[in-house]
């Protein structure tokens, strides 16, 4: 049984995760035209991998998880680099062009990033609705005995 504060914490973590997804999408969009990086390679698109997570680090939480009776939070497992090849554009005058005259642009599709951004914002909104639902429930419960 979760307390109201645990449920708030759960929704809050989910909001933080969605913020990270938006940060990564914004980094991808910002670097869509980048042709050089510190390690000399082309800029690789980043992707956020999510993982379920224990809500609390207590023994009771682990026990509940072992019994399959726990409510699981979410966390960012890793920020993975996309292995797709770069987008090669023929532009011999570009300072970063190779000997064959091709420039390696990042493997970022702007439309795909925009769609990711929209799904991220929808998830964020859904979790905000969870929060307002929780607050509403708690406030209604406080009204018990006052004629509701």
């Amino acid at each position: 049984m979760m307390s109201v504060f645990d449920a708030l914490e759960l929704a809050g973590r989910s909001l933080s995760v969605q913020r990270t997804r938006l940060d990564v999408a914004s980094s991808n969009l910002a670097n869509a035209q980048t042709t050089r990086t510190e390690d000399g390679e082309f800029f690789r698109r980043r992707d956020v991998v999510l993982e379920d997570d224990a809500l609390a680090a207590s023994f009771g939480a682990h026990f509940d998880h072992a019994l399959g009776e726990s409510v699981r939070g979410v966390k960012v497992a890793e920020i993975r680099e996309d292995e797709a090849p770069p987008r090669m554009v023929h532009d011999p005058d570009h300072p970063d062009a190779g000997p064959d005259g091709f420039v390696a642009y990042p493997n970022i599709n702007t439309v795909e990033e925009m769609v990711n951004m929209i799904t991220t914002m929808r998830s964020y909104q859904a979790n905000l609705n969870v929060l307002s639902g929780l607050r509403e429930m708690a406030q209604r419960a406080l009204g018990i005995g006052r004629g509701v």
């Binding site: 914490e9 809050g12 933080s16 913020r19 019994l67």
Partner: protein
Amino acid sequence: MRINEQIGTQPFIEPKPYAPKATARSGDFQQVIDSVRSTMQAADGKASDAMVGRGSIHTAMIAMTKADLGFRFLTQVRGKAVDAYRQLMNLQF
């Protein structure tokens, strides 16, 4: 294995008459007040962090919601206690 199923197989326990051993002391309520105060202080810290751009807005709002709910519950409990006290004071003999 589910805990609830295990409980269901327990032999029936005879109900005992209600015998309160210890009553709540004023120190217990003081502890609750202190913990509500600490959630409010945490909310203050997170709010000022968010205002200068150090923390995220939702973290601050959630901390403030926690403090708000805790304080509302505290005032409800205080109201009930004061109500009970008034009822006793109005007893006529």
